[in-house]
């Protein structure tokens, strides 16, 4: 794998994480339990789609085959996607959506802080712009996890159930492969396996406050970021996200 191929792969991983999670939370638009949360989630979705345009736009340039962000987003199939499994998991109830958001935001904020010092200036610039959005996402999702976890008996039970369901998808964010090793060697991005301790401390602190218990089992579902095996949920998501471009290729308005 050449340096350029590794960079292309890395950029797809960044862009696909934000694209798929952005799409997932946009599914709440008009359906959230209260108006204020509806707008807040839609804002977050739009932040993610904005970040996706930068990551996948740059990915297309690096690949050099004439594909732009839209082409990559709407004309690849499930096995070409490089997002971690966590972000494609279904919304479930509002609590599960917020828990998924928190588990991702915590990783995202730690990872993006390292990218600010990337040796690749384009990556550093995208990180700079995204980092303020991500800081707010984390503040909001962490607060909501605490409010619901340490809320009523019902909300506590739902949040614990969501955590137990999603925790096996946390580990994948910290697995590193040859792409990560190469990007770390080039100073482009950190080796994700070096970030687990910081992540655990952050997550533990918030979950303690939320009176939720972190599952002891560290078993990690994987296959998303390498594209070897996505969950069944990704195909359904792509179906609704991509159908228009697939039915009317290159249609625009």
């Amino acid at each position: 794998m050449t340096r350029n191929e590794a960079l292309f792969e890395f950029l797809q991983r960044m862009g696909d994480n934000t694209l798929i999670l952005g799409h997932r939370i946009s599914e709440w638009c008009g359906m959230a339990p209260v108006l204020e949360e509806d707008i807040a989630l839609s804002n977050t979705a739009l932040d993610f789609i904005g970040q996706t345009q930068f990551w996948l736009g740059y990915a297309g340039e690096v690949e050099g085959e004439g594909r732009d962000a839209d082409r990559l987003a709407f004309h690849r199939d499930a096995w070409d996607f490089r997002n971690v499994l966590l972000v494609e998991m279904p919304n479930g109830d509002f609590g599960q959506t917020i828990m998924r958001q928190f588990l991702f935001d915590a990783w995202h904020s730690i990872y993006i802080a390292r990218l600010l010092k990337s040796s690749d200036t384009r990556v550093a610039e995208i990180a700079e712009k995204a980092s303020k959005e991500i800081a707010y996402h984390l503040e909001r999702s962490a607060d909501t996890v605490v409010a619901l976890g340490d809320g009523t008996e019902e909300s506590h039970a739902r949040m614990q159930k969501a955590l137990d369901y999603l925790y096996p998808y946390v580990g994948e964010m910290f697995l590193s492969d040859e792409v990560d090793v190469d990007m770390a060697a080039a100073g482009v991005a950190p080796d994700p396996s070096s970030l687990r301790e910081e992540y655990d401390a952050l997550v533990q602190k918030v979950l303690d406050e939320a009176t939720l218990s972190v599952p002891g089992n560290r078993f990690a579902q994987k296959g998303g970021k390498t594209g070897t095996m996505h969950t069944e949920h990704l195909g359904h998501l792509l179906c609704s996200m991509q159908w228009l471009q697939r039915a009317y290729p290159d249609g625009n308005w």
Partner: protein, 94 residues
């Protein structure tokens, strides 16, 4: 039991000007979330540099039926308007 979050009134200080202006209201469980919700609902288009929220029940308001006695007496009193003075620049924003 009332399960509704309390109502908060939102005041935003814009890019220009010193004062916070009332922009609307929203529901939130506490003051901190009210500020976050206000950020998401009312500053999406770069409107503000500062947010105040106050729980609506804490606002005391004048009664519309008192309009006559409260405001009409000040109608014909031009001498109350200090429009006859030049204000030195050093004074700054008034």
């Amino acid at each position: 039991m009332n399960n509704e979050w309390p109502l908060w009134e939102v005041f935003i200080r814009g890019q220009h000007g010193m004062s916070h202006r009332h922009v609307g209201s929203l529901h939130a469980p506490d003051a901190e979330m009210a500020i976050k919700n206000a950020r998401d609902v009312y500053t999406r288009r770069n409107e503000g540099v500062s947010i105040w929220v106050v729980e609506a029940v804490n606002i005391a308001a004048s009664s519309p039926s008192d309009k006559g006695p409260l405001y009409e007496p000040s109608e014909s009193k031009v001498y109350r308007h200090p429009t006859f003075f030049d204000i030195p620049d050093e004074v700054g924003a008034m």
